[in-house]
Symmetry: C2
Subunit: 133 residues, 2 copies
DNA sequence: ACTTAAAGGATAATTATTATCTTTTAATAA
DNA sequence: TTATTAAAAGATAATAATTATCCTTTAAGT
């Protein structure tokens, strides 16, 4: 179990117990919605405020410690920032998985047209995961 | 200017003036947020209710007459359903453009892994559009 | 024209998110 | 260690976004 104290501090975030818990949950779960995060957090901090969840998620987003992933027909999930990657979204169980897909060819094609300067790409593939097939 | 009366009816939607206007706006603008749609509609129907906008957008989504496009760091936009395509999102002016990108190679790669059955893909490229460069 | 199920408008209710204010605490230095 | 302080947590009010309700109007088919 990684200790995120210093990593949080490197992002100008005080390492509070609540933040360490959020970070640990994100690390273990990979992707989580606000409401699920709150449910899990309440088990550890019975008196935690939903506002604390929102404030921390927003601060972590601002500091690029985490990223929001928008999922078609579902709520957004949050994940710890890592190298650029795409997502698989299971339409049955809701599970979100990371997947590394090389988009260079595509981005080069777009670059050739010279009509749009791409800075980032977000790709979500929706379907049925291994477990649900 | 296309007449959408029959197209609406084919989707089990009564062709009301409000719906024809929404459809016409979507047709002309290409992509629009809920709030922008409401602003434009109020000019044509001064007494229109915001609930009418939401109810129609939701019905049109259910009947697959339109689609929601989730944009990173911005509000969702809606578009008339057409053949599968990707989107360019300008980070400066907010403009959303359609772009046809062949994702077959990518989808085949994922299919090969045999761990996920892809039904649909959503790709948004964020960056700077021609006008804003 | 008549009938009726569906749609529109007004607005209340709900849900999601943010702001405010007070108390507590992590981080730093004496 | 303890003292100091800016920041964070918690409680809750406020705001924003969306949906539900109820009554009136109307599109579409006799």
């Amino acid at each position: 179990m990684i200790n995120y104290t210093n990593i949080l501090r490197q992002h100008n975030l005080k390492a509070t117990p609540q933040r360490l818990a959020i970070t640990d949950i994100l690390h273990v779960q990979g992707h989580i919605t606000i409401e699920s995060l709150y449910e899990v957090m309440v088990k550890k901090f019975s008196s935690i405020s939903l506002a604390t969840i929102y404030k921390n998620i927003n601060l972590m987003l601002e500091n690029s410690f985490i990223q929001e992933v928008k999922i078609p027909h579902a709520k957004s999930v949050y994940e710890i920032t890592k190298e650029s990657h795409s997502h698989l979204a299971c339409e049955k169980c809701g599970e979100i998985q990371d997947i590394i897909i090389d988009l260079d060819n595509i981005l080069n094609e777009v670059a050739k047209t010279n009509t749009f300067k791409v800075n980032s790409s977000d790709l979500v593939l929706s379907g049925i995961c291994k477990n649900c097939q």
